[in-house]
């Protein structure tokens, strides 16, 4: 049975269903008894555990619990806060399985909200998946629809390795209400350009998984390949729609996970279209757009005629929304780049 759920409801359902059938799963983080109140009501304070603002301690504790037989879901609130606990993620959590030669495993999910577009300033709107995907031993999932949100979260919870699950604030409505004050606006959807298909969509009631490392072709096309992830997938689709009206055929690939990365999907598409545009909300250099370029160059250098990237600038994120719009990718900047490539 499939119903329409919001992006946030889909994630909630995934966690609730998994927690109900595996008592080793617990949630730990700041304010989780508030943010995850229905889960707190259902599973109690033993399994939905509030913490002090001590990310190093509770992320490390989750790692230790994971290799001691539990399956923690760490609620990091915003991905920006990864920096205060970076050592526990970069040097502990993701190295222990390897350095112990598989003696210890770390089945753990880090859940964090990411992304900008609502004017929250430089330390609360970052994407940062370029950092996370560069860490060996860490999987990175970034859903763009409610269906994927549930399926990827269940895959993340069932995975026996550390997984970062990033939910974009433009898709997870409760974040826009809490941090963006969405309720203030008569038309919040317009105010934040919320993509309908990302914020709400059909989700099967029963548990299911969306496999890691399997990109989704959101739109078929033959003239240009656009590769993206998260909210920007919807921005790209909107642009493709507009260009289709002019007879231009744009293929849009949603990576869904950065680690593992579905290199094959990107390569096959580029072999067909010979043109590649990467749209990335993270900082431009030394990140996702580069890895996609390298992937194609390694396997299909010959077939790549044109490559561009529309990304966040290599600058911190400015507060003023007029500047934020310039700093982050937008339908405008994506369309401009696509048009140049389709000339």
């Amino acid at each position: 049975m499939t119903r329409e759920l919001t992006f946030a409801e889909a994630i909630h359902e995934a966690i609730e269903q998994e927690m109900a059938q595996d008592s080793n799963i617990f949630i730990v983080g700041e304010d989780v008894q508030l943010l995850r109140h229905p889960l707190f009501e259902k599973f109690g304070e033993e399994r939905v555990i509030n913490t002090p603002i001590s990310e190093t301690a509770f992320v490390g504790a989750a790692t230790g619990a994971a290799y001691s037989g539990m399956r923690p879901i760490v609620d990091l609130a915003l991905v920006d806060f990864f920096a205060v606990t970076a050592d526990q993620i970069i040097n502990q959590m993701t190295k222990i399985t390897y350095l112990s030669a598989g003696q210890l495993t770390v089945p753990l999910v880090i859940r964090a909200a990411c992304g900008g577009g609502y004017g929250d300033g430089g330390q609360h709107s970052q994407a940062l998946w370029g950092f996370l995907a560069h860490i060996p031993g860490l999987k990175v999932a970034i859903p763009s629809t409610p269906y994927d949100a549930k399926g990827l979260m269940i895959s993340a919870i069932r995975d026996n390795n550390p997984v970062v699950f990033l939910e974009h604030k433009i898709l997870a409505d409760y974040w826009l209400f809490l941090l963006g004050g969405a309720a203030r606006f008569k038309d919040a959807q317009a105010e934040f350009n919320i993509p309908a298909a990302g914020a709400k969509g059909p989700v099967p009631a029963e548990p299911y998984t969306v496999p890691f490392g399997k990109a989704e072709v959101r739109r078929q096309g033959k003239d240009l390949t656009v590769v993206s992830v998260g909210v920007m997938v919807h921005r790209a689709l909107a642009v493709a729609e507009r260009l289709a009206a002019e007879g231009k055929s744009v293929e849009v690939i949603d990576l869904r996970t950065l680690v593992p990365l579905d290199r094959r999907a990107v390569i096959d598409s580029v072999k067909k279209t010979r043109k590649l545009l990467v749209v990335d909300e993270d900082y431009r250099s030394y990140g996702l757009s580069g890895e996609i370029a390298a992937t194609v160059a390694e396997e299909a250098a010959g077939s790549l005629e044109d490559f561009k990237r529309v990304t966040a600038l290599d600058t911190p994120i400015p507060f003023s929304r007029v500047l934020e719009k310039v700093m982050l990718p937008s339908e405008g900047s994506i369309e401009a780049a696509a048009r140049r490539m389709l000339k």
Partner: protein, 317 residues
Amino acid sequence: MIAKDVALDLYRRMVRIRIFEEKTAEVWHQGLISGEVHLYVGQEAVSAGVCAHLRAEDPVEADHRGHGPLLAKGVDMKRMMAELLGRKTGLCQGKGGHMHLFDRSLRFGSGGIIGGALPLALGSALANKMRRQNLVSVVFFGDGAANQGAFHESLNLAAVWKLPVLFVCHDNRWAVSVPKSYSTAVPWNAQRSAAYGMPGEVVDGMDAVAVYNAAKPLIERARRGEGPSLLEATCYRFRGHFETDNMAYLPPGELEEWKAKDPIPKLARQIVEQGWGSNQDLERIKAEIQSEVAKAAEFAESSPWPEPELASKHVFV
């Protein structure tokens, strides 16, 4: 006991914060300020009582709830409000916003990462110490920040280096929805100062005069080069964590109980009782500030947006 002019100065600083913050809330709800705002309403006595001792050149660092310290230090409200609205005329030309308020002329900075400001305050103090300037750095943070590793490292290092720093902890009992009583293993963070061999005091942060008197010796001590100390001020955020906080998690009656201790009427009563000023005097101060705030809001709302090119400036200088 304090002098008349001090009392009136404290009153003015608190009213400046209160009226500015109420205006900020109004403007935020109109949708003119994007993102979060963490207002200082209810905590005015803390910033007022501490900043009354500071010189313009004394560096101050604050957290996400930083409007109070900045206003108490005497910021130009026009440029502050313009920054909150993301305008070109703002303190940071709209690039910083509510959680990133910088005013070089006041050596003021703030940030949104909990605990992140404490190490920075050590730096201005170290610079001032190296240059033999007897200036004092003050850093304001919350009870929640006292459980971040940065708190521990910073207090220890400030003590080891004997830096002129005053650590001011707003003990407003909550970190978003998590009570201090749950997250902190000891009743008072001031007790933790013993772990760094520095003085630590708890003061009633709803009483401007008490804060003023408690901060005085600690700041003077730092100015004399005798090292850092920790001041913990009990207070309360009347408007909740931020403007979207419904405060459903609060125990019944707690908010009302604290609102009854509002530091502004309290000081007003003292002023009138002590004969330091009349109700008319206080009304005059309020009126002055009301118009200052109104002008600031007008200025901000009528200010231009930053030009798009600004987005790529100031990454490197």
